[in-house]
Amino acid sequence: MDLNIIWFILITVLFTGFFILEGFDYGVGMMMFGRPKNERSQFVRAIGPVWDGNEVWMITAGGALFAAFPHVYATMFSTFYLALFLMLLALIMRGVAFELRGKFKTSDWVNFWDCGIMFGSFVPALLWGVAVTNLLRGVAINYQMHYVGTFLDLLNPCAIVGGIFFVFLFAFHGANFLLIKIADEKLLNELQKLSFRLGLNTIFAFVLFGLAAAHDTDILAKISTVIFLGLSIAALIASCAGAKAGNGCKAFLSSTLAVAFLTIGFFNALFPRLMVSSLSPNLSLDIYNAASTPHTLTLMTIAALIFVPIVLCYQFWTYRVFRARVTPQDVNYH
């Protein structure tokens, strides 16, 4: 196994971590829609201690892409220019909103920032779905690795279905996270029903996405990818069953697995490519023509092998410290 393959795996690991952790953060943010203020406060409190650390998975995935596959970083970020602009606006609003929403107790102030959190969670979820689908489907990359299409090319039906699928998936995943974090029985009952319904919708969106992707991409070309996607659907079904039965742990762990299998499936379908060119298969960016030198890859491999486990340790510890469920009293106090 050469360094380029190791780095493809590490990028997959980072994106898997990102989609699992930020997935439920985005989901919790979206779950705030239409909820009364005290419930929204409990939701925010549930992810309050961890969302910032979770977001760094995205930053690290971006940084690692830059270090290991600079051409992918360059082409991908300039291709998705306007989409990333929207995503950044959303993430800026969301990040500041978490900090400022509690600074005044007035309804207008809190409502405003909660809109920021909902918008800031929905938009990235949608756009990541659109982006990932486009990576698979292929974008117009020319021989200089420059994107020669337009913004509207990125909003093709298949990518939009992918975006909607991600929104449902993350909302469902977030709802499941709340099932293990909320203490209030009455609210928990409502969330269980909601989670179950979201789960069914997610499975439906998955199937729809699978059909669109089968038509537009080569996602089903590898049998291994089909297995990963199958496992992902199975995990979603298990998660739905968990939500229905009121077993929050089962629901959340299963949706975590579903997100993980899905991400692995995506990258497996891409391998050894990272960005598909729709102009010609020869123009796709892969782990060899887009990579850094062996020197840099070796250095980054050592760094990743040392620091990723350390990060996992202290983040795991953080989740343990904040393992208690959030009660309505918690949010009055903070």
Binding site: E55, V56, A74
Partner: protein, 455 residues
């Protein structure tokens, strides 16, 4: 305006905006950590109650600032790919590594332990909780180190080779121990201490003047902040001086530009003011202190300092025909003077404040008016930080990586001016909007919070 100039403008606005918050994070995190260490080591019950409130008080200001810094930092990381894709391609092998290491070794601990610190008051032991803020402070400053390693390469490339038209890393150790990092990092670190400390001075002064019940505790913080800021200012001045001397070897064009020295001179005079004529490549009018520039560079009143015109000729010999002079010598010249002037003014203000709070403590009541006006001085460190970065980055032009790649060829080729206009306006609007709300929230919080014994 084309996509290139708009992208530059957008990057400049984002960087300057981001760096309004970064120095506060660097300096205030350490100050809050010191304050909490004081709190856990205090034995008097009364003092502990008040100290805990103080930690939370400055901690809250820190957190508002921290959030603003984090979200704009993400924009920075994305910009390299979004607007500067050809730069990212050319430099990715080298530049990506410190960026990824920053995320992996610094930003992760910062962001995780800040969550533990905010929500961990009742869940962690006092010592572990205090350790969390120290880890945050360490992470923030380590993060700044990695970013400045990356930036220093752009200013002064080391440990690289050019292969197939791309810069590739040959020696990571050289990249990290780039002598340019020493000057830049120490200057930025002490600027952080200064900015954080000055903020505490200003806030404390205002609370002393306007909030009688909390006065006693803020007299304590202002005294500590005065000492803290003095350390910062001395460090900034020392590291700045050292770095300018180093620039004479590492990047003489930048040095000559912010001093507007057009011809090589021995001994070289220091221009206090100058009417710079960039087209004619000379100063139409100047007031000079003879020998002074030589002294600043060589610690002796004699010694040659190279001028812009000679350096331009040297650059043409080395890189082929082209214009290698930073295109805003006037702006750099005045920015440098603004930075030095503001630094000196801050030193004076801190010394005067120090005299008041240390030696005339009993007469503080007679000076409440002055203290009340101190918030008007708060922009000073932020001005100095911004113009400082302006000099550093404008002085690198026309290069994006000195000697290796020009800014003009680094921009993403697929962007249209309209697209960049849209994002430029969008980012600027949200920055302004959020700045207003964040400052409003911070000011209201500072106003209403009382530091008393009541639990």
């Amino acid at each position: 305006m084309d996509a290139l100039i708009l992208s530059r403008l957008q990057f400049a606005i984002t960087t300057i905006y981001h760096f309004l918050f970064v120095p506060v994070t660097l300096g205030l995190s350490i100050f809050v950590a010191l304050l909490e260490t004081w709190y856990i080591n205090s034995n008097s019950y009364e003092e502990r109650v008040k100290l805990k409130k103080l930690v939370k008080f400055f901690g809250t200001i820190f957190l508002i600032n921290f959030a603003m810094g984090v979200v704009t930092g993400i924009v920075q990381e994305f910009h390299f790919g979004m607007n500067w894709s050809e730069y990212a391609r050319f430099m990715g092998d080298i530049f990506g590594a410190p960026l990824a290491l920053e995320a992996l070794t610094a930003f992760f601990i910062e962001s995780t332990f800040i969550g533990l610190w905010i929500f961990g008051w009742d869940k962690l032991s006092e010592k572990v909780h205090c350790l969390c803020i120290w880890i945050v402070a360490f992470g923030s400053n380590l993060s700044a180190f990695w970013i400045l390693v990356a930036n220093s390469f752009m200013q002064h490339p080391v440990g690289y080779a050019i292969e197939n038209g791309r810069a590739v890393m040959t020696d990571f150790a050289q990249l990290v121990t780039n002598p340019y990092v020493v000057g830049q990092y120490s200057h930025a670190f002490f600027a952080g201490i200064t900015t954080g400390g000055f903020l505490v001075i200003v806030v404390s002064a205002w609370k002393i003047a306007t909030d009688e019940v909390s006065r006693e505790m803020f007299v304590k913080t202002i005294r500590r902040a005065v000492l803290y800021t003095l350390v910062g200012i001395c460090g900034v001045m020392g590291s700045g001086h050292m770095h300018a001397q180093y620039l004479a070897q590492a990047n003489p064009m930048k040095l000559a530009s912010f001093e507007a020295l057009w011809e090589t001179e021995n001994p070289a005079p220091f221009a206090v003011v100058a009417d710079i004529n960039q087209e004619a490549r000379r100063n139409d009018f100047e007031i000079l202190i003879p020998n002074m520039f030589s002294f600043m560079v060589h610690n002796s009143f004699d010694g040659e300092v190279k001028g812009i015109n000679d350096l331009q000729r040297e650059a043409v010999e080395k890189y082929g025909s082209g214009y290698y002079i930073p295109n805003d010598v006037r702006g750099m010249f005045w920015s440098f003077r603004a930075m030095i002037g503001v630094g000196g003014l801050m030193l004076l203000i801190v010394l005067v404040t120090g005299c008041l709070v240390f030696f005339k403590r009993n007469e503080i009541r007679e000076h409440l008016c002055c203290l009340k006006l101190m918030p008007l001085l708060l922009p000073l460190p932020f001005i100095a930080n911004s113009v400082g970065w302006y000099i550093a980055e404008a002085g690198r032009q026309p290069w994006i990586v000195v000697g290796l790649q020009k800014t003009a060829v680094a921009v993403s080729p697929n962007l249209s001016a309209n697209e960049v206009w849209l994002t430029l306006i969008g980012f600027t609007a949200i920055y302004l909007f959020l700045a207003v709300l964040a400052v409003f929230a911070a000011v209201m919080f500072i106003r209403r919070t009382k530091i008393t014994e009541e639990v």
